[in-house]
């Protein structure tokens, strides 16, 4: 991504903050008003002091004090108004952005999720967004208001006496120079720190998801050491960041103080030569006090703005990613799916495959007639799972077509396509919800009878023995179930969706021989009417299918009945058989 300037980057967020902009603008007005009230107080102070000096009376004192009080209260009310105006809309913008990035992430294809570390996504949806909100409703408003105030204030200082004004102006020059340097240096460190925070979140997430492995190998300390190293890097970055902020702070504090010191010198001289009244000098000094906070605030407002800039950048890195696998503009529909699935000269390669390697799927041709079930056989890593992913467009073909009832799957909306085709993955991917919700994931409106039937087919009777039966929450990723139980729930889930086509990736691998036989028996009733593509490694699973397709070197090299292939195809025998010609185990 090309580096955009700070302003251009910041501006990108505005379309998303449209609804809040009027109130933000009003908030700026309120902020400016507050500052102006604050700045005008010294004007009255001047008259007050002058009148006191010339033997003033209570009659002059009281109204002037009241004026000062009134202005002070107005300042307070303006601040109140500013906050009331900008804060709530800011939270709406944040919520809107959060919904947006979540929706976008769900929309982005699996290939995106494979590549992006999970913590980087999470940190974008949490920390970054709150940075953006704070900037919009606080940083931006004050940055503009305080900047203007400083300029106006500088102008007012000139009205006391041009020499005094000039002193302040000259003293502020280093601030501007430093400010520009800061902008350049800080940005890269801010980015680094946000990225490193994301990396840390990734490590945390993996350390929890992989906790079983870490414990089984006793690698808790090892991973903690790695984590510590990462946390230490972040610590270094944060310290560097703080150093940069401190670096600009000194100028922001020192410059005005120096100016005050010098103008005290000049002021006293001016008063002694009667070019300025004592009241004028007091008011001048009071004005500089009123300008102190806006000036000092520029430091953190600048860093906040730059933090927001990187946050916005990071946000748009996700939002700008094109959704490669999107719905067509005019999706076709299949009103009555028959369930004919055809792979027509399908080519597929992962984007990171070396150029000299042939396509992973290198011209797959295969037809599944309606109601037919086909077993897909091939050695580990030959591309079976990748082929199944093409059917529901978890990935898109890089050449050729996948057709459902003659319609290219890319011409259907994803929603519809995934209603017609339902999958059971090699790993169960369950959610920490009730058994019921998990099984009915693909068809939430299914009846109780359908649910029971699906569980019956998958031989998942064990669910009735769970503490709360179908309403038992099954724990994160179903980890409170046994491997075979998880797999059967995933199978039940696919079946319960009542699709025209079932795609089952090695669906019985975690089942014992007896249960496997039972599931197969029950599944057969479904498979008579439903088209099915079943990835299999074992002859027992192959029994489920009407025909077998053999995958080799990215192609379907043979299709036929199990017995035929066994008799005629060497590679098929190599993949599937454990017995030698004499019927003995090959070892």
């Amino acid at each position: 991504m090309s580096e955009k300037g700070t302003l251009a980057t910041l501006l990108r967020i505005f379309p998303y903050a449209k609804s809040a902009l009027p109130r933000i603008a009003l908030g700026m007005v309120a902020a400016i008003a507050a500052h102006l009230f604050a700045l005008s107080i010294p004007q009255f102070l001047r008259d007050l002091v002058n009148s006191l000096k010339d033997n003033g009376t209570a009659e002059t004192l009281v109204p002037a004090v009241l004026m000062v009080l009134l202005l002070g209260l107005l300042e307070g009310v303006s601040v109140l108004l500013r906050r009331w105006l900008v804060l709530t809309p800011g939270t709406f913008v944040e919520a809107g952005l959060r919904a947006k990035i979540y929706a976008k992430l769900q929309d982005l294809p699996v290939s995106f999720h494979d590549k992006w570390p999970s913590g980087q996504l999470l940190s974008r949806a949490t920390g970054d967004l709150s940075l953006i909100r704070r900037w919009l409703s606080f940083g931006l408003v004050l940055f503009v208001a305080n900047g203007l105030t400083i300029i106006v204030g500088l102008g007012i200082l000139f009205t006391f006496h041009w020499i005094l004004g000039l002193i302040f102006f000259v003293c502020s020059v280093p601030i501007w120079i430093k400010g520009f340097q800061f902008e350049r240096n800080y940005h890269s460190v801010a980015r680094l720190s946000q990225d490193q925070a994301g990396d840390l979140a990734t490590s945390v997430e993996e350390s929890v998801h992989g906790i079983r492995v870490l414990k089984a190998f006793g690698r808790g300390d090892h991973i903690a050491g790695k984590f510590a190293a990462e946390a230490d890097t972040l610590r270094g970055t944060e310290i560097k960041k703080a150093g940069l902020i401190a670096g600009i702070w000194i100028y922001l504090i020192l410059a005005p103080e120096f100016a005050v010191g010098l103008s005290l010198l000049a002021g006293v001289w001016l008063v002694s030569t009667e070019q300025l009244t004592v009241g004028g000098l007091v008011a001048f000094l009071a004005t500089t006090t009123a300008l102190r906070w806006p000036t000092e605030s520029i430091g953190f407002l600048l860093s906040m703005t730059l933090d927001a800039k990187t946050a916005i950048q990071r946000f748009f890195e996700v939002l700008d990613t094109p959704v490669d696998i999107a719905d067509p503009e005019n999706p076709k529909t299949i009103t009555e799916p028959h369930g004919r699935l055809e792979f027509k000269d399908v080519h597929f390669r992962y984007s990171d495959a070396p150029a000299d390697q042939p396509d992973l799927l290198n011209g797959v041709d295969l037809v599944l007639e309606p109601g037919e079930s086909v077993a897909l056989i091939g050695i580990t890593g030959c591309g079976k799972t990748s082929l199944t992913a093409l059917t529901t467009r978890l990935y898109d073909v890089t050449g050729g077509q996948v057709l459902l009832d003659g319609v290219d799957v890319r011409d259907l909306s994803r929603e519809e396509l995934r209603t017609h085709i339902s999958m059971a993955f090699e790993d169960a991917t369950l959610f920490s919800a009730s058994v019921r919700d998990n099984v009915l994931l693909g068809r939430p409106d299914a009846s109780e009878a359908d649910l029971k039937q699906a569980l019956e087919i998958a031989q998942a009777h064990f669910v009735y023995d769970l503490p709360e039966g179908l309403n038992t929450k099954i724990g994160e990723e179903g980890m409170s179930l046994s491997g075979g139980q998880r797999q059967r729930l995933a199978l039940a889930r696919a079946v319960a969706a009542r699709p025209a086509i079932l795609v089952l990736d090695d669906p019985l691998s975690a089942l014992d021989v007896d249960t496997e036989a039972l599931v197969e028996e029950a599944l057969r009733s479904v498979l008579t009417t439903t088209t099915a593509l079943i990835v299999a490694h074992r002859p027992s699973t192959v029994q489920l299918a009407d025909r077998v397709a053999l995958m080799q070197d990215g192609r379907i090299t043979a299709v036929g009945k199990h017995s035929e292939l066994l008799a005629t195809n060497d590679h098929y025998r190599y993949v599937i058989s454990s017995l030698d010609a004499a019927g003995e185990m090959i070892s």
Partner: protein
């Protein structure tokens, strides 16, 4: 209901006792974080005190300038003026350089605290048992370690400096005012009454809400993490819309409570400023009268006004600190809850030494149930002599993995004991236990990072040669070389870059390289094709020599390399004998084996 550890974490309203317990725990944690940095804090304080002291000198010098130096300057006596201005500039320089050092110094201190807390939380969650993680969910652990830590970072980043500087600034300003003009100081003191009321109001109205934000934000994260982890299923089963509306609900919960908090602060903060304004007006009025009757110099009044105004300057910062503090202490409540959780599988304090484990395992009246209470393994005895290869088979859900998890001490038996070479597993140090016993879990989990790193997890100091040897032994070396960067190829999160079978092979290589006395393989070949499985079995024959091993498999081909077969059903071992004897018999295993054998071609 108790608030022990993480229980009751989502509750907002707590009764007095609970609230006290939780607060105490949070405060304890805070103190324990501060203890190691107390020396640094003293330095910080010194820097701040000095810097603020210099800062406060300013208005006094101005007062002196106007009241003394000015009249003298009019009489062309310029020395006092030069002194005043010189003093002012010096004070300014001193202030800034002190503040600069303070900022740099305290940034390091703050980051050390963050580092310390991050580390503690990470190490502790790693130490907590599976039982905890199963119910607590990863999303919450992540929330605790991200958004809650952010709340604390916020406190340290802005709040810490502001508060220390602010309090000292106010103290010094107050003192200076007292010295300069006690009358004005009296008025200043009066302002504390409304300040106190306003602060009470703020406190009352935010207390529960901060707790709510923590809970709401954790919920957001949990949902987010679960969606992204299960993205394939989300897509395949068209869950996007439902998820979006559910997530929108959580977002709105978080937004509304957050908005409420911000709004309350939005009243509190200007409220403070206004109290300041009124105070200044009174000082002005009172001082003005005294100037009129000649009892007060105009310069003093100017300084008093400047002081009084400045006195309230840090109020905003203090309010922000208080705000951040409230938010951080809610976060600390949650974090301290996690830290309070005890390991249900603790490491012994005085471990028994085990030199060169032979691998003799023995179950003595072991009984086990998961935390939901149902007994999974009713009491049983089992002795596995050193060096024996066991095939553990049985119906799904029978309890095979559970038994394996007991051996690798992911859980402790609910009753009875499990010994390795006669030593209760509970008496072994983690280091020795893990060196002696290693399990390849049913779920082949790979971490993002290179293939080499993933294999080396079994032996962190492994050389590249050893890693390659392990990969070769399980037959995955060629495949690894075919990947774009060979052994350095990133396997992506959860090993998404490689196929299921390849994932199993890599996990297998990981166990291979660990070289333990007891090896447990839980369905380690379930996703492999037959040729690869055969290859692995060949490798196993050499690997298992001289080791105790428990091999769980539904594909009974493993039986051929086993010395002994255990058949499990409903948590009980119903058959236990040499494979040949069992196959020849008429029991369950004989039937299973026959059925399996018949399925082969």
């Amino acid at each position: 209901m108790t608030m022990q550890g993480t229980s009751g974490e989502d509750r907002i309203e707590l009764n007095k006792d609970e609230s006290r317990v939780v607060k105490l725990r949070a405060r304890k944690l805070l103190f324990s974080l501060i203890r190691p940095i107390r020396r640094r804090l003293i330095v910080s304080f010194t820097l701040v005190i000095l810097s603020q002291a210099f800062r406060v000198v300013g208005p006094a010098l101005i007062a002196y300038g106007i009241d003394t130096a000015l009249p003298q300057a009019i009489r062309s006596e310029l020395t006092p003026l030069y002194l005043v201005v010189g003093g002012y500039l010096f004070a300014a320089l001193a202030t800034t350089s002190l503040i600069y050092s303070f900022l740099k110094f305290s940034a390091r201190t703050n980051q050390n605290v963050m580092f310390d807390l991050r580390q503690r939380l990470f190490v502790h969650s790693q130490r907590l048992s599976l039982e905890f993680h199963e119910t607590y969910t990863s999303g919450r652990v992540i929330a605790r370690q991200t958004s809650d830590l952010d709340a604390i970072k916020e406190l340290l980043d802005t709040g810490g400096n502001e508060m220390i500087a602010g309090i000292f600034f106010m103290t010094f300003t107050g003192a200076a005012l007292l010295a300069l003009d006690p009358g004005s100081f009296g008025i200043l003191l009066f302002s504390f009454i409304p300040l106190w009321f306003l602060t009470r109001w703020f406190q009352k109205n935010t207390k529960l809400r901060y707790r709510q934000t923590r809970v709401a934000s954790a919920r957001l994260i949990v949902k987010f993490v679960e969606t992204m982890t299960g993205i394939r299923a989300v897509k395949a089963f068209r869950k996007e819309k439902d998820n979006e509306s559910e997530y929108a609900g959580y977002t709105e919960d978080y937004r509304s409570v957050n908005a409420k908090v911000i709004q309350i602060f939005g009243i509190y903060d200007p409220g403070l400023t206004m109290i300041g304004t009124v105070t200044v007006a009174f000082i002005l009025l009172f001082g003005g009268f005294r100037v009129i009757d000649g009892s007060l110099g105009i310069g003093i009044l100017t300084a008093a006004i400047l002081y009084a105004r400045r006195f309230f300057d840090p109020m905003e910062g203090l309010a922000m600190f208080y705000n951040a503090y409230q938010s951080a202490s809610s976060a600390l409540e949650k974090i301290s809850g996690v830290l309070e959780e005890e390991e249900s599988v603790p490491e012994p304090e005085h471990p028994t030494k085990l030199s060169n484990a032979t691998g003799h395992l023995s179950f003595d009246d072991v009984e086990f149930h998961y935390s939901n209470g149902k007994t999974v393994l009713p009491g049983f005895n089992l002795d596995i002599p050193a060096g024996q290869t066991i095939a553990l088979v049985g119906t799904t859900g029978a309890g095979k993995s559970t038994l394996a998890k007991l051996v690798s001490r992911l859980y402790d038996p609910s009753a009875g004991r499990l010994t390795l070479d006669g030593i209760d597993l509970r008496n072994l140090s983690n280091l020795q236990l893990r060196r002696a016993i290693v399990m390849v879990t049913q779920e082949a989990y790979l971490f993002s990072g290179s293939v080499a790193e993933n294999i080396a997890l079994g032996k962190p100091d492994a050389t590249m040669d050893e890693i390659e040897a392990a990969a070769k032994a399980v037959g995955v070396h060629e495949f690894i070389l075919s990947m774009p960067d060979g052994y350095n190829t990133d396997v992506n999160k959860r090993g998404g870059r490689v196929s299921a079978g390849q994932r199993q092979l890599i996990s297998f290589a990981r166990a291979f390289i660990a070289d333990p006395a007891v090896l447990i393989l839980d369905e380690a070949t379930a996703s492999l094709d037959i040729p690869s499985e055969r290859l692995v079995q060949q490798g196993l024959k050499t690997l298992l020599k001289g080791r105790t091993s428990i091999i769980i498999a539904h594909r009974l081909s493993t039986v051929s390399i086993a010395d002994r077969v255990l058949v499990m059903e409903h948590g009980q071992i119903i058959e236990d004998d040499a494979p040949a004897a069992l196959i020849a018999g008429t029991g369950k295993f004989a039937r299973m084996h026959a059925a399996w054998r018949a399925s082969l071609v």
